[in-house]
């Protein structure tokens, strides 16, 4: 028996963007949140270092500087109207979070504390600026908790542990979603006027990743299957500092607090790659530098990692060399205790997983797959747009990591993921409610749960000749080897073929667990299908883009090519084929120029 529920607005995903959308939509529209996890388990909670906003609490700053840094960080692929909108709105959004109780760390005079972060600069001096508003090294945790708390206060409807399987469209208009209740295996139809996807990223297709198991690209995969394109999927960020082998994130705030990267020869190698900003270069630049050091044999002990050093003696030595000063003009001098108070969780991770105390020993790190710049195409109000002309699909919205506005372009700046989800989560929620209040409830398609049941039946009744776990391992390996920090025509072409092969083999998978109750094997297998689809789109878009820009670094096309490639990719899935098209980048005030840090 299929249950049907009726709402004005359905939000898919209970992380930062989803909860922001819920809080804002529910003010005027009957709203529910569906989440495959308990909302507080969402990956927003893993964000560490800070949320960027030009509050200027410690030194001069302007949202226009934040906008320029974001445009430059994006390697000029970000849409400048949306970036300006985001950076202007960020300031009020951070105050809104504080008014909702978020326990930010504080300056001596009681204001929200701010720290330097990669790529965020004083546009006049070009030096790092304190722009990342933070709560120790658990800023994302505090944002997620604060938003969930406010959802409880406001009586938001939650359907926890409901996995969305399908988007319902009727006559070109959004009509709802179909979900499976994990506790019972029952299918539910959510009939709604507006749907907001806020399902997060898809980093689980790479072997070394900072991403949660839940990060399987569900929203992008579901919308792709319903004919919505995915934008800029070739751009996926590798964060430079993941814990060696595990990929667990070590926040850029470690370098913001004075941490330095070293190779096997003890060289501060970032001096060679980013002479002005050094260890605080943006993430794509730093990840490539680490990769090149390793490739040239300067990884630690010849292995594929380098050291990140936050020991006080190191911080103080290089602070003196760089002439870094406190705000009162005195030279920077920190103690182990002060460092630990600013990065307590990082210290905990290092001790737990590496047996390393970061104020006594350097941390072994390597680049880790971290953030999807690409995703469901939207405008700056979260409205999903479905073609080169930005035609809006009525009633469909997306926000947060699953969306591509695009404000991150080819490379996201640190702290801007949290900015993205608070600003665009809010506006997607407001816009969805506004639309729902002016729209009639669309009719449901006949047998709305049909496609969802088909998907489940296929996975339950496969031949069993192939194992999902094995396909998953092979996928993560090929993506790591050939669709990683550096890419070539040959590697990408072979990755496309390999992913096609894996998608064929996936058709022979059979879920062994026949239980209706918490069939996590079924859920995980369905998620793998999503990753396979998105991996194919990613590899095809990457092989086609014959230039290097931001996170997409081609060894065979090492230069950015604005003449031919200053454009967003759009990818559609036509059965087993990927079809690509392109749309222009919005340029307002910042003409593309060479990107140097």
């Amino acid at each position: 028996m299929t249950q049907t529920h009726v709402f004005d607005v359905i939000i898919v995903g209970g992380g930062g963007a989803g909860l922001m959308a819920a809080l804002n939509a529910s003010r005027t529209a009957k709203t529910a949140v569906l989440s495959k996890l308990y909302p507080t388990r969402s990956h927003t909670g893993a964000a560490q270092g800070g949320v960027g906003a030009a509050l200027g609490n410690l030194e001069e700053d302007h949202w226009e500087w934040h906008a320029f840094d974001t445009v430059k960080g994006s390697d000029y692929l970000g849409d400048q109207d949306a970036i300006e909108f985001m950076c202007r709105e960020a300031v009020q959004s951070v105050y809104d979070l504080e008014h909702a109780g978020l326990p930010f760390s504080r300056t001596p005079d009681g204001r929200i504390a701010q720290r330097p972060f990669g790529g965020h600069t004083n546009n006049v001096t070009k030096k790092p600026v304190r722009r990342a508003a933070y709560a120790a090294d658990r800023t994302g945790h505090m944002i997620l908790q604060t938003l969930y708390q406010q959802c409880i206060r406001n009586g938001i409807n939650f359907y926890d542990e409901f996995q969305v399987l399908d988007l319902l469209l009727q006559d070109g208009v959004t009509a709802g979603v179909v979900a499976v209740e994990l506790a019972t295996g029952e299918i539910h139809v959510f009939h709604a006027k507006a749907v907001v996807f806020a399902t997060g990223g898809h980093g689980r297709m790479w072997d070394i990743t900072s991403n949660a198991y839940a990060y399987t690209g569900d929203g992008v995969a579901v919308t792709l299957r319903r004919g919505v394109p995915a934008e800029d999927m070739e751009f996926f960020q590798f964060h430079p500092t993941g814990i060696y082998k595990l990929g667990i994130l070590i926040t850029e705030a470690v370098r913001g607090e004075g941490g330095v990267l070293f190779n096997d020869k003890g060289e501060r190698f970032m001096e060679r790659y980013a002479p002005t900003i050094k260890d605080l270069a943006s993430r794509d630049v730093t990840s490539r530098a680490i990769y090149l050091e390793v490739k040239e044999g300067r990884g630690i002990g010849g292995k594929n990692y380098v050291y990140l050093d936050i020991r006080p003696e190191t911080v103080n030595l290089y602070a003196e060399k760089d002439g870094r000063k406190n705000l009162d003009g005195t030279p920077v001098h920190v103690t182990a205790e002060e460092i630990l108070s600013k990065i307590p969780d990082i210290a905990d991770f290092c001790k737990t997983y590496l047996g390393v105390d970061p104020v006594k020993d350097p941390m072994p790190i390597q680049p880790t797959a971290h953030y999807a710049m690409g995703g469901i195409p939207t405008d700056m109000f979260g409205q999903v747009v479905v073609n080169e002309k930005n035609t809006v699909l009525p009633g469909l919205y997306a926000a947060g990591e699953c969306a591509c506005v695009s404000v991150h372009g080819a490379n996201r700046l640190g702290t801007n993921s949290l900015v993205d989800l608070i600003v665009f989560g809010k506006h997607a929620g407001l816009k969805a409610a506004e639309y729902a209040n002016g729209a009639n409830l669309p009719t449901l398609p006949g047998d709305p749960a049909d496609f969802s049941r088909q998907q489940i039946d296929r996975l339950m009744n496969g031949s069993g000749k192939e194992k999902a776990a094995k396909i998953g391992r092979e996928l993560r390996q090929v993506m790591m080897d050939d669709v990683g920090v550096f890419r070539t025509e040959e590697g990408l072409a072979s990755a496309v073929e390999k992913v096609k092969e894996l998608r064929e083999r996936f058709k022979e998978v059979k879920v062994g667990d026949t239980s209706k109750v918490f069939n996590t094997e079924l859920l995980n297998t369905w998620e793998l299908g999503n990753l396979l689809d998105l991996a194919l789109v990613t590899a095809v878009a990457a092989v086609e883009r014959k230039e290097s820009r931001g996170a997409h670094a081609r060894e065979d096309f090492p230069k950015r090519d604005d003449e031919n490639w200053l454009k967003h990719s759009l990818a559609w899935m036509d059965g087993d084929k990927v079809r690509l098209s392109y749309k222009p980048v919005v340029i307002t005030n910042y003409a593309p120029k060479e990107r140097v840090y």
Partner: protein, 235 residues
């Protein structure tokens, strides 16, 4: 090294009662217990069910009993257990739904009952942030770390004996607001915690403090709430 992984199994649509399955696994001492469970589910027995997400101790999904102690499966390594025999069981005090998955609803209901949200609708005249000194902010820092994993509440003998007790996690989350200088809802929360199933059910067993994977001084936080009730002061 080779380990024997004993896992509590209960499949509600098949099993009349629970059993233990044993898996012999060749593993590295630095593997997480979660890695072992993932291996079993992926390569040996897909029907093994458990919750997990972030895999590094910040989302709170995979709290379970490991060799008798409440731990996050992603935050304990094989070598930390000093044993080649590892027993994994669901949390105590919450109904087992399937294998290592328990019904978390009673836990979240208790959490929601203590008004676990910021209460202060005044906005400073300049529209900017409420001012709070670093010392005031530090006062409640410890209890902001909670990830709602339930390791504390399900290690508490008072909770086992009567699950109406709100439990340590709910009190931790009340504490986080009671001692926040910006919040105005302390009186309401303290009234709630002074009720029959509030803080006075705590018998200071310290199990909660030992179980917390975030190293929150849970028992101390509960004591501070008790003290606030006795003295009527928030210090």
């Amino acid at each position: 090294m080779e380990i024997r992984l004993r896992v509590f199994r209960f499949q509600p649509d098949k099993d009349a009662k629970a059993r233990y399955d044993v898996f012999t696994i060749e593993t590295d001492p630095t593997e997480r217990i979660l890695d072992l469970l993932e291996y079993v589910r992926g390569d040996v027995d897909g029907s093994l069910s458990f919750r997990r997400s972030c895999a590094h101790g910040v989302c709170g999904s995979d709290a379970m009993r490991i060799n008798g102690r409440n731990l996050l499966a992603c935050k304990v390594l094989v070598k930390d257990l000093n044993s080649s025999e590892i027993t994994v069981e669901p949390l105590l005090g919450l109904k087992v739904i399937k294998d290592l998955i328990v019904d978390m609803d009673p836990f979240f209901d208790h959490y929601k009952s203590v008004l676990p949200y910021f209460i202060n609708d005044e906005i400073p005249a300049d529209g900017k942030e409420h001012l709070q000194s670093p010392v005031q902010r530090e006062r409640f820092d410890d209890t902001t770390k909670c990830i709602l994993c339930a390791a504390c509440t399900t290690s508490c003998p008072s909770f086992w004996s009567n699950t109406e007790y709100v439990g340590p996690a709910a009190i931790v989350n009340a504490h986080r607001f009671v001692f926040d200088s910006r919040d105005q809802g302390a009186a309401q929360r303290l009234e709630k915690l002074n009720e029959q199933f509030g803080v006075w059910r705590c018998r200071t067993a310290f199990n909660c403090t030992e179980a917390c994977p975030r190293d929150i001084k849970v028992t101390q936080a509960i004591a501070e709430v008790k003290q606030a009730l006795v003295t009527g002061k928030l210090e």
